[in-house]
């Protein structure tokens, strides 16, 4: 009986957890500190971009705006001047879209087929080909700038968006091919063999077997390429003309324009606008990304 009584009153079930244990205070304290540290610049930028110039001149960068105004945002987007053009970032935005969209699509299509062929349709010299491709990613871009300028000029596409799209596609190739190749190599070879016995060809297997199983890696490639190409400055400034500058170059020109007063609020708004696209892509596709991984986790 005594034993039974102890068994009834003794500890039972899940162990209770204290919310305010030293460990938790330590852990969350540090997490909050780090969050504040990283978010502070963003806070300053958002606050400044919502102030009018008189308020900015007061110099109190941490105080929230007394009078909220969206005028700096409108100006940054539509009327800020770079050189002779006074149509703000909008022109750069559309240029960037016209550069990023085809570059991302083209590079992902080519790289995924590359990776698939390199793993499943090994040909004589495929390993050498792959090694050379990877080697390419270790050469600094700057070395190749001038040769590419000459190549594009000879091809008659220097200074066009098309030329820049081709450059982005080529430079995305090594890392993307590596990415897809490694992902496809994790798909059991027997699936590929089974599909061949079932009479599917190169494209049949690619589209009907490989592609549906590879959504996560396509999302990863998408994030990599969109952020990489959207944020690119060097290629944009080297391979295009002022009319066709991407948003990043436009932003630089707005922020660094030497005439007149520095409009910090406009600069902040312009910077936030430029950073918005990769951010949205990340948040939207990040969710997809996690879902994709979970769906593929079950061994087929």
């Amino acid at each position: 009986m005594a034993d039974a009584a102890i068994a009834m009153t003794g500890p039972r079930g899940a162990k209770p957890k204290k919310a305010l244990s030293p460990r938790n205070i330590m852990l969350y304290g540090i997490l909050i500190l780090v969050c504040v540290y990283y978010l502070l610049p963003l806070y300053v930028m958002v606050m400044t971009s919502l102030k009018g110039m008189p308020e900015v001149r007061l110099g109190n960068i941490f105080s929230p705006p007394v009078e909220i105004t969206f005028e700096p945002w409108v100006k940054a987007w539509a009327t800020a001047c770079t050189g002779l053009n006074c149509d703000g970032l909008s022109r750069g935005f559309w240029n960037s879209v016209l550069i990023t969209v085809p570059s991302v699509i083209l590079s992902i299509i080519i790289a995924s087929v590359n990776g698939y062929a390199l793993i499943n349709w090994k040909f004589k010299g495929s390993e050498v080909f792959f090694t050379i491709l990877i080697f390419g990613s270790f050469i600094p871009y700057q070395i190749m700038l001038y040769p590419i300028v000459i190549l594009l000029r000879e091809a008659g596409i220097y200074g066009t968006l098309g030329g820049l799209v081709i450059v982005h596609t080529i430079f995305g190739m090594p890392i993307l091919t590596l990415l897809f190749r490694n992902y496809f190599s994790s798909i059991p070879e027997e699936l590929f063999k089974a599909a061949r016995v079932d009479g599917a060809g190169f494209w049949g297997i690619y589209f009907r077997i490989m592609l549906p199983m590879s959504l996560p890696i396509f999302v990863v490639a998408l994030i990599l390429q969109v952020t990489g190409i959207w944020n690119d400055f060097l290629f944009g400034v080297v391979f295009t003309k002022p009319d066709l500058y991407p948003m990043t170059v436009q932003l630089n020109n707005i922020v660094n324009s030497v005439q007149g007063v520095k409009e910090y609020n406009v600069n902040m708004a312009a910077t936030l606008l430029t950073g918005l696209v990769p951010l949205i892509v990340y948040f939207v596709s990040g969710k997809l990304f996690v879902r994709g991984i979970a769906a593929g986790a079950v061994k087929g």
Partner: protein, 359 residues
């Protein structure tokens, strides 16, 4: 009946490594041939060559009287079942079964008919609209077999299909594959490293080692008259006992240590006198008696007694030599018991030490 598969002088090299060497293999129509061997012996490689998934270096492959050496896998009239099932995870069972047929542009009513038939044979009708992830291992392997079945082919190739399953399921599906073979009468080539599967399923077993077929014969023949030391040691569990010695008296007597064993009744070629020979006896062909029999016998001491339920394994020491004997459970003996061993020469095998071939 003609030959369903003919492999002629097949050679396969990976770079400078020779994987299959000048191989010849004929499989009769409706025959169940098992390729058996240890890892790396080339058995799966040979199967992949038959399927057309690997390009061979030299030789020819004929299936159903057609030279398919250069044909695509889908044009060879084969269906293949893989160890890892290899079901397309994004498709339903029905999608998996119909994938090959759609590629071959089979009309839809015909596809439905064939799927219905395969599903009935394999009893997977309730699973047709599920994804592979929602199936158990045994169900997945059934679907994989079904995928070969709907192709309506003459030759089935199995690449270690039961290796990923647990022991109970494995024996169930083994019987089912046997039943399927009896029912369909297709030619089947089956790769495994499991000798139980090989012995139970095969009409003929091809024991392979180092890219060469060591022996190609029926299960009983392979078990009773292994053609060389490798086959003798590979087939049978526990392994055959090998006694090293020599033959004297014009080949009438085998001398092992101090013991003389009469070879009268040996089922093989002329023994002759040999300086070195190896006598192989399976554990169930050794008799144990507590008192010395009339003729010459080998004294031994029981070291370990392993009870297997149906029978028991005695591990004995005869001098320095370990010998394993299979005895009925009633014949179990405690460790330390002194016994005398007799050998059933009619079922033993004698090997030449140098060539390792059966005499």
């Amino acid at each position: 009946m003609g030959n369903s598969i003919e492999v002629k002088d097949l050679t396969l090299n990976f770079g400078s490594v020779s994987v299959l060497k000048n191989m010849n293999l004929d499989v009769k129509e409706g025959e169940f041939v098992v390729l058996l061997g240890p890892s790396g012996c080339g058995k799966s490689t040979l199967l992949n060559c038959l399927a057309g998934l690997l390009d061979i270096t030299d030789g020819q492959i004929w299936i159903k009287g057609k030279n398919v050496t250069w044909a695509e896998p889908s044009e060879r009239g084969i269906g293949m079942v893989f160890q890892s099932y290899a079901l397309y995870p994004q498709m339903t069972v029905r999608g998996n079964l119909s994938f090959g047929l759609k590629n071959a542009k089979v009309p839809q009513p015909e596809i439905d008919k064939r799927i219905a038939r395969a599903a009935e044979i394999l009893q997977i009708q309730p699973l047709l609209d599920r994804k592979p992830a929602a199936l158990s291992g045994g169900q997945r392997q059934r679907v994989a077999i079904g995928r070969a079945l709907v192709r309506d082919v003459d030759v089935f190739l199995f690449d270690e299909p039961l290796s990923n399953l647990d022991a109970k399921l494995r024996s169930e599906l083994r019987v089912e594959i046997k039943r399927l073979h009896n029912q369909l009468g297709n030619t089947m080539v089956y790769v495994t490293h499991d000798q139980i599967e090989a012995l139970t399923l095969a009409d003929r077993i091809a024991v392979m080692k180092g890219g060469v077929i060591q022996q190609l014969a029926g299960p009983q023949e392979i078990y009773n008259r292994p053609s060389n030391l490798f086959v003798a040691g590979f087939i049978g569990s526990p392994s055959m006992n090998f006694l090293s010695g020599k033959t004297v008296d014009g080949g009438k007597t085998f001398v092992f240590g101090d013991h003389r064993i009469d070879l009268a009744g040996y089922d093989g070629g002329a023994v002759l006198e040999r300086d070195q020979a190896i006598l192989g006896v399976r554990p169930e062909h050794v008799t144990v008696s507590s008192s010395a029999p009339a003729g010459p016998s080998i004294p031994a001491v029981v070291e370990i007694d392993e009870n297997l339920g149906a029978d028991s394994l005695l591990w004995l020491k005869a001098g320095t030599k370990d010998i394993c004997v299979r005895v009925p459970v009633e014949g179990r003996l405690p460790a330390g018991t002194k016994v005398h061993l007799g050998l059933d020469i009619a079922k033993a095998s004698l090997f030449d030490t140098k060539t390792e071939q059966r005499i």
